[in-house]
Amino acid sequence: MIYSPKLSKFLETYGIILVVIAMMVVIAISRPDVFLTPQNLTNILKQNATLALLALGMFVVIVTAGIDLSVGSTMALSMVTLAIASRAGLPWPVVLLIGPMVGIVVGIVNGVGLTWLRLPHPFIMTLGTLNVARGLTYLVTDGAPVSGLQPEVRYLGQAYYDLGIFAPPAGIPASLILVAVCAIGLWFFLEKTNTGRHIYAIGGNPQAARVSGVNVDRVLVLVYMISGFMAGLGGLLLAGRTDSGFPNAGIGLELDAIAAVIIGGASFFGGRGTVIGVLAGVLIMGLLRNGLNINNVSSFWQMVLIGAVIIFAVWIDVIRRRAAVRR
């Protein structure tokens, strides 16, 4: 095989998209009457928008060889906080900001705790905040859902644009546009800015980053802030879609986010992965669930299959990397 760094980088980036297309073809063949309807496709995008945001945040953390277990709880805390604020009658622009702000605060706590306390691994710090944020979520709500949000607050989670061609309730969801904006912004940040490249460098060799004059601790705090921000934004979307803040939201969602990132080809050991891969990973999980749903497969089997896919995806990656080395 002729080795070309450009070709190998291209495959590493875009090979996963072929998998998504293949899945869509298979599901479309199994249920052509249901899968390709605009309504079903709209649903897939809407249902996975929150997961996509969480996965994007988780991805940045995993690139540094870290992990953020707190994102599910952070999302729930953001969601109930903004729901309470909305019910309390705060102006809607303030309510919109509250979700992401709560996320950023949890992210700062994670980042600062990790770097100042010199905890041995981010697993520990974020396992702590997973529980703390969830506990706070129950405390502020007394464990009961808070529903009835202002229409402006619901907008991002609920709105869709039929563009005059789709029959309601189908169309381009506003949440998809938000995800796209976040993904493009994150891609630009990671690929084109010095701080973005330092995030990859920290994942590859933190000592190399340090001796090159990169303030590793500061970058790590920023990374957990980004993850928290994305979780907060995800909370805003979910609150809008469900018109409520419910304290049980997002339990275990951090594991889905990790799974999407790993399926999308990012290395669990840091330094490797792409934004487009993460989105593909989210879509693969979403399509798998949808494909099984519309074929009336029990949700218990879905868990079994998703577990198998995670293992399979990483195994494919191992094989591909071995082939790339033996050029």
Binding site: P5, K6, N194, R197, A201, Q207, V211, S212, G213
Partner: protein, 261 residues
């Protein structure tokens, strides 16, 4: 080669204490413009502590550094780099998951600056890296190759290229050949000689007498935290230098070492 009367860097009475432990005391030495100085010493003699002081990682407890005739204080590796002092680490300190050109300009990326953020000009960085590598006669397939795909010698060459990418005056190398395959050692040593031709001063810390005697102008020995002996390379021999490492002066053929032959 640039030569002048004032040495490039001079250390006067450097001491470093870690609590009750004295790592260095009363260390004095100098290195001239474009000079290659070898630093030898046994484990624990204080070589790495001294190099960490020179590169700004540690601050001396006593004594001062004089750079180009002016007192210099480095409170971080960034300060030392700004003054033209660079470090090449034994393990290369490269990010294997990143391209050669990105490693070379890590932390000093070319591009447009917006506050703390730089929008990197990747095209310019590639060109700069290619030109710089050509200047040093370092050959790689492509500057887009990840450094993990390189051999040890190529990695060391990239690490040296990074150290000299921005007008370095002095490059400090910690055991530059320790992690290399034997066939690659010569290439790296030739590269060190080439730096000297570009007017860059080099301090080499090494255990390998072959390295020292191949490319140094002068050699200095540390023993138990202080400078024990030094000499121009022409005025000394391997045996004498090995004696210095073990804290003895004037030993030559009587060393047990030699009788093993």
């Amino acid at each position: 080669m640039v030569q002048s009367d004032t040495p490039l860097l001079e250390a006067r009475g450097i001491a470093k204490y870690f609590g009750a432990i004295t790592a260095l005391h009363d260390v004095n030495f100098h290195v001239g413009h474009g000079e290659v100085l070898g630093v030898v010493g046994d484990n624990g003699a204080g070589k790495s502590t001294l190099m960490k002081i020179l590169s700004g990682l540690y601050q001396p407890s006593e004594g001062e550094l004089i750079l180009d005739g002016k007192p210099a204080k480095f409170s971080s590796p960034k300060d030392a780099r700004a003054a033209g002092i660079e470090m090449v680490y034994q393990d290369f300190a490269l990010a294997g998951n990143m391209a050669i050109y990105e490693n070379i300009y890590m932390g000093r990326e070319p591009g447009r600056k917006f506050g703390p953020l730089t929008i990197i000009d990747h095209k310019k960085a590639r060109e700069m890296a290619q030109n710089h590598l050509d200047n040093l006669h370092i050959h790689v397939k492509s500057v887009d190759q990840n450094t993990e795909d390189l051999s040890g010698g190529q990695r060391q060459a990239v690490a040296i290229a990074r150290a000299t990418a921005f007008h370095a005056q002095l490059v400090i190398m910690d055991e530059p050949t320790a992690a290399l395959a034997i066939k690659e050692v010569g290439k790296v040593l030739d590269l060190i000689k080439r730096l000297k031709d570009h007017g860059v001063a080099v301090i080499i810390i090494s255990h390998r007498m072959d390295d020292i005697f191949y490319c140094c102008d002068r050699v200095m020995a540390l023993y138990q935290g202080t400078n024990f002996a030094e000499s121009g390379l022409a005025e000394t021999s391997r045996n004498e230098v090995i004696g210095w490492i073990m804290g003895t002066k004037g030993h030559t053929a009587s060393l047990a070492h030699d009788r093993l032959n």
